[in-house]
């Protein structure tokens, strides 16, 4: 509680005690009004002086209709008509309500602030002479060496040059299991080093570092207001004056009509009704609870590693009926790896891997790299570049290289002697194998397959591609490479399916692979062999196919696209809502998308949708509940059935309930 809130709490308590005490006293001892009135004015001023002052100031500044004005009129009116106790009670409960609201708002602010606590205050810069100074992260230049001690946050993105530690990334990803980080690996600002001391070479300025980007994003999120929020602020703009005029009419018209038809005017009774009407009408329940709900929803999502860029996206997300996934990097890890090797008889796995590694050594293709990586990890020997000669990439087929033998012929200086004996290694798809004369290979069904063929040549003759060559190369076997499916992808599809969401997978990969992935995950439909540009067209087609669902423009069915943000920025933009895999620090993804999943976990999408639906249903509950209670009480008040106590409930009670309901968004699981 802030000092201001504490002060208000004390005022409320003092005033409450005084009101209760005075009520009891005057219940036992009847006192004339000139004693009772001043006595009740004491708690009234204790609790309400600031409201009166504010109302007065606002009128002087030409701002008439606001809460303070309503409260002043209503309480002064009640006191003027002899209802001293009610007058004070209205003010008291109004203040208690305000206090309550300010605590609730403060609490959700704090929840967000805890998330914001990822921001590091200082960077320990290690200078060349070995001294360490504390500096403002803003002043640290790219390429500086910073020291991160155990328990400290990494202030700036960079690469570890020495030390190892387990890293708590939960503030960024919601993932509670710490990650091991060693020299040579990237670290992201905002993570906390738990066990070891690191020396990090910075790669970015502080303002471009992940932590700054995220803070900016979350802070800006409440600037993108949802339609419901805009509706409320418009509503309040017209509502308050209208209610004031209605109250005036309620006070003036019936007595005048009664006078005309010859009945007693009963001014006092109608004044009371008008005042009750005013108290009931206070719009604060709706005005405060709607933005609070959205804020809570966004806060709740961010604590789980889902960054939503604005309240408006919560609305869209709740109406998503189709989710389109990019395959690589979204449903799969995006990292190719050798999953199995199938050697022909009499040939070892290591042998094939060695030959394949030589064949693929000069290529940057992800598949080639996966073979190089697998070879490096499993073999003590490196690929000797000087033995490779004459690399031919055959587009759409594979690669063919000429490799000289000589590995075992150690020369006097310990250098390898390269002999004229050489071999040609062919690595590629089935088409390549057919082209070199290997016609009867049984194709492998799964994944991406690299077939390896070998041709030994004794002389330096050029026997590439088997053209003009009698001998058919020897078939060694094949290597299956696959992009590992994320462990949570299947659960993600299942959860989305149970929420009635249609899932579509788009990929540039071949149909066979796409089909296998789609089937194993349970994706509803898939489209394969798409070029990057085709994806936009596909998404447009899907949006059209889906239609509006028979609903108006605001609530129509929506389509979400989930990608890793690397080369699908146009698709992210074209979809109703773009969800990017944050990839822990990929700026491109954070820029392009409306929602960012910090830990790249597709299962978070159904959680995000759940949060958005819950938030919206809480918003709707609050709007409906508050307006329904108000309208009912307004009618009762106008008819003279509702008294001031009911009016207090309709105002403060509804507000407190609405605020309590709104804070439920923070606890969505």
């Amino acid at each position: 509680m802030s000092s201001k809130q504490k002060k208000n709490l004390i005022r409320c308590i003092i005033s409450l005690i005084l009101v209760v005490a005075l009520s009891i006293v005057f219940h036992i001892v009847k006192a004339p009004w000139w004693i009772e009135l001043p006595s009740f004015l004491i708690p009234y001023f204790v609790v309400g002086y600031d409201v009166l002052l504010k109302a007065f100031k606002n009128i002087r500044n030409g701002q008439v209709f606001d809460e303070c004005f309503l409260m002043t009129i209503a309480t002064v009116g009640a006191i003027a008509t002899g209802e001293y106790r009610e007058g004070v009670a209205v003010m008291l409960f109004y203040q208690i309500g305000e206090l309550f609201q300010s605590i609730a708002v403060g609490k959700s602010r704090k929840n967000i602030a805890d998330l914001m606590d990822i921001c590091p205050e200082v960077a320990n810069v290690l200078h060349e002479d070995g001294t360490i100074t504390e500096e403002d992260p803003d002043d640290v230049e790219i390429g500086s060496i910073i020291v991160v001690n155990p328990g400290e946050k990494v202030p700036i993105d960079g690469v570890v040059i020495s030390g190892e530690t387990s890293m708590d990334t939960s503030a960024l990803t919601g993932e509670s299991v710490p990650r091991m980080v060693r020299a040579g690996e990237q670290v992201i600002s905002g993570c906390i080093s738990l066990t070891g001391k690191l020396e990090v070479k910075t790669e970015k300025e502080f303002e471009d570092s992940t932590v700054s980007k995220i803070l900016e994003l979350v802070e800006n999120s409440s600037m993108h207001k949802a339609k419901a929020e805009n509706f409320i602020s418009k509503f309040a703009k017209y509502y308050t004056p209208i209610v004031c005029y209605l109250a005036l009419a309620l006070f003036l018209l019936p007595p005048i009509v009664r006078l005309i038809i010859g009945m007693p005017a009963d001014w006092l009774d109608w004044l009371m009704r008008a005042l009750t009407f005013l108290v009931i009408s206070c719009p604060c329940a709706v005005v405060i609870s709607v933005p609070l709900s959205f804020f809570g929803g966004i806060g709740c999502a961010s604590s789980k590693g889902i960054l939503i860029k604005g309240s408006n996206y919560l609305e869209v997300l709740a109406n998503v009926r189709t989710i389109v996934f990019d395959k690589t990097g979204t449903l799969t890890e995006g990292v190719f790896e050798v999953v199995s090797v199938y050697p022909e008889e009499g040939i070892t796995e290591d042998y094939i891997m060695e030959k394949a590694a030589y064949a693929e050594n000069s290529s940057n293709h992800p598949i080639a790299q996966s073979i190089q990586k697998a070879y490096k990890e499993n073999s003590e020997k490196d690929v000797n570049n000087s033995r490779i000669d004459d690399v031919k990439e055959i587009s759409g087929h594979g690669v063919c290289v000429k490799v000289y033998a000589g590995e075992d012929n150690q020369g006097a200086e310990g250098r390898e002697v390269i002999t004229p004996e050489h071999e040609h290694i062919y690595a590629g798809n089935l088409k390549l194998m057919e082209r070199i004369g290997l016609k009867n290979i049984t194709p492998h069904e799964e994944g991406t397959v690299v077939y390896v063929g070998l041709q030994k040549c004794e002389s330096d003759a050029n026997c590439v591609m088997n053209e003009g060559h009698d001998a058919v190369p020897e078939y060694l076997g094949c290597i299956v490479i696959s992009d590992r499916i994320k462990s949570t992808s299947e659960k993600a599809m299942k959860d989305l399916g149970s929420q009635g969401v249609r899932t579509v997978m788009l990929t540039g990969d071949v149909d066979k692979v796409a089909k296998k992935v789609a089937e194993s995950l349970g994706v509803n439909t898939y489209r394969a062999e798409l070029l990057p540009g085709d994806k936009v067209n596909e998404v447009e087609k899907l949006i059209e196919e889906q239609g509006s669902g028979g609903k108006d423009a605001e609530n129509r069915n929506r389509l979400a696209f989930v990608g890793d943000g690397i080369n699908d920025a146009p698709v992210l933009a074209r979809a109703d809502i773009g969800i990017a895999m944050g990839a822990m620090g990929s700026d491109a993804a954070i820029e392009a998308a409306d929602v960012v999943l910090m830990d790249d976990d597709p299962a978070k999408i159904s959680l995000a949708m759940k949060i958005s639906r819950k938030t919206l249903s809480i918003v709707k509950q609050n709007i409906t509940f508050a307006i329904a209670v108000k309208v009912l009480c307004l009618i009762l008040g106008a008819l003279g059935i509702a008294n001031m106590w009911l009016a207090i409930f309709a105002d403060v009670g509804v507000m407190i309930l609405a605020v309590l309901n709104a804070t439920r968004t923070l606890r969505i699981k």
Partner: protein, 72 residues
């Protein structure tokens, strides 16, 4: 030019009114005030003195809502 200011205000409706007042201040192109983060993002017209403009904006806000503060 864009700048972000910390603000203090007690109610959502007042925040809304403050935002309007800041927006309507001369030299300010656009302003968004978030009641939840208590921050106000202000976009200035080209070539104005931001500090002077914000002083003016603060005065305008005080007029409509006395119980608020913009931390300049």
């Amino acid at each position: 030019m864009k700048k972000t200011y910390k603000v203090e205000v007690d109610c959502a409706a007042c925040a809304e009114k403050m935002q309007e007042a800041i927006k309507n201040t001369e030299g300010i192109k656009d302003a968004t005030l978030s009641f939840m983060t208590l921050k106000c993002k202000v976009e200035f017209e080209d070539g104005v003195d931001a500090d002077a403009v914000m002083q003016e904006a603060r005065k305008n806000c005080k007029k409509i809502e006395d119980d608020m503060e913009i931390f300049l």
